[in-house]
């Protein structure tokens, strides 16, 4: 059905495989054994495109940046379960219900992998969850928008997961080993998510007039927020330079955003749906599509907490956490009653 539409996506998945091979190959090269000074050693590992591992010395700022970035990525996966989970019980076919259940479950799993990676940097998952619940750490602003119709499931799969993949594939080459490995695992598992979203939209766009209108309406609402997922324009992005030097960030916000737009234009044509941008056109000189930037003021407002669903998402998370406290306490009490020293005979 799709022909070459997923050429770009397969290209991205090939990049994941390449990243994994590079990681294995790097593992076989010797690091510079002569460096005694920790900073020199650290710089040498990065320069050789090898991985920093949990017990390595690392600049404090590198560690803090990574904790923040990995944790916010993890929080995004967990919060992201809410807008999509919103339609599981109302999915219009049993097959779609199953697929959506599996997708949301994957997101929980991805959150877990990422929290595990963050914990290798010397912070506990409990602390990170507290930071989220207190609003001191953020999650991707895209999840502060409501899922108003079933077509939003398609739009999220196609656009939001598509943008996430464009963002995440370069992270498979991140300098920090546990994060790179988690990203490789996540990217491989995510390959079906974007395809499912595309399929949902394709079915709707070629269905009844009401379904087609539902699909177009979803695209109209999710396109610009998806573009905003790549962050502010490079000129306004404060942390990018240092993150690039540390091998945490590989490409600029604008580069990734352009890559995403280029990927979506052809796919939108196959879908028979219109991207809501009158300025969208191929630039013969650059070979890329010119497009209208998202409203970055709106992005800032949403990040500050004034998006349509911020309060709701946080309240939901806090409620789930609070209502589960008695369960966690019970499990802890049960384990304590049976605690034995590790290695003691039964």
């Amino acid at each position: 059905m799709y022909g070459n539409d997923f050429g770009e996506l397969s290209g991205l998945l090939d990049q994941v495989d390449e990243a994994e091979k590079a990681l294995v190959a790097a593992a076989h090269r010797d690091a510079d054994a002569g460096a005694d000074d920790p900073q020199t050693y650290f710089d040498g590992v990065l320069a050789a495109d090898q991985k920093i591992e949990p017990r390595d010395w690392m600049p404090d700022a590198y560690r803090k940046t990574l904790i923040r970035q990995i944790a916010q990525h993890a929080h995004s996966e967990i919060i992201g379960m809410q807008p999509e989970g919103n339609w599981i019980t109302r999915a219009p076919s049993l097959k779609r219900k199953a697929i959506l259940l599996a997708k949301v479950q994957d997101e929980a799993g991805h959150g877990l992998y990422l929290y595990a990676a963050a914990e290798t940097l010397g912070i506990s998952r409990d602390e990170l969850v507290q930071l989220l619940l207190e609003g001191r750490q953020k999650y991707s602003s895209i999840f502060n928008y409501p899922t108003l119709t079933w077509a939003d499931m398609g739009a999220i799969g196609w656009l939001v997961d598509g943008a996430a993949i464009v963002n995440q594939v370069p992270l498979c080459r991140c300098s920090y080993g546990p994060y790179a490995r988690a990203m490789i695992r996540i990217c491989k598992e995510e390959s079906f998510h974007q395809r499912q979203g595309f399929e949902i939209l394709h079915t709707l766009a070629h269905g009844t007039p009401a379904q087609h209108a539902m699909a177009q309406d979803a695209i109209d609402r999710w396109w610009y927020p998806s573009l905003a997922m790549f962050g502010p324009p490079d000129a306004d992005s404060t942390h990018s330079e240092q993150s690039m030097a540390w091998g945490i960030k590989r490409f600029s916000n604008d580069d990734l955003r352009q890559r995403f737009v280029d990927m979506c234009v052809g796919q939108a044509e196959v879908l028979g749906l219109r991207l809501p941008d009158d300025e969208l056109r191929l630039n013969a000189e650059t070979g890329h599509y010119d497009y209208t930037q998202p409203d970055f003021d709106e992005l800032m407002q949403v990040i500050k907490g004034n998006g349509p669903c911020n309060r709701q998402r946080m309240a939901h998370r806090r409620r789930a956490h609070d209502e589960g406290a008695w369960v966690r306490e019970a499990a802890e009490a049960y384990a304590a009653k049976r605690a034995q020293p590790v290695g003691a005979a039964a």
Binding site: P38, D56, W57, K249, A331
Partner: protein
């Protein structure tokens, strides 16, 4: 409250050896095994899983250089330290 951290090792098939795949939280060993099976194997059959309390692992990696790492502190991960996460959103 904290649910302890467990490291997970998986052997996908007979003949291969167990590989470290990540970690899970669980209140005790039985739940850790079950959680690990759900998270890391999606309940594939024939998979062998080990879970080990992270705190029980003794580690040594001489080529990882850390001037401040107490050589007697031979754990896999640094001890959690309390430090200030910068307030406010600094997006990517």
């Amino acid at each position: 409250m904290s649910s302890p951290l467990w490291e997970v090792f998986v052997r996908p098939r007979r003949g291969l050896s167990h590989t470290h795949v990540g970690s899970v939280h669980a209140p005790d060993a039985d739940m850790a095994l079950r959680n690990a099976r759900d998270v890391y194997t999606r309940r594939q059959e024939g998979v062998s899983i080990w879970v080990v309390p992270a705190a029980a692992i003794t580690a040594s990696s001489p080529d990882e250089k850390d001037a401040f790492f107490d050589p007697a502190a031979d754990k896999v991960y640094r001890h959690p330290t309390f430090y200030d996460v910068p307030e406010g959103a600094k997006h990517l």
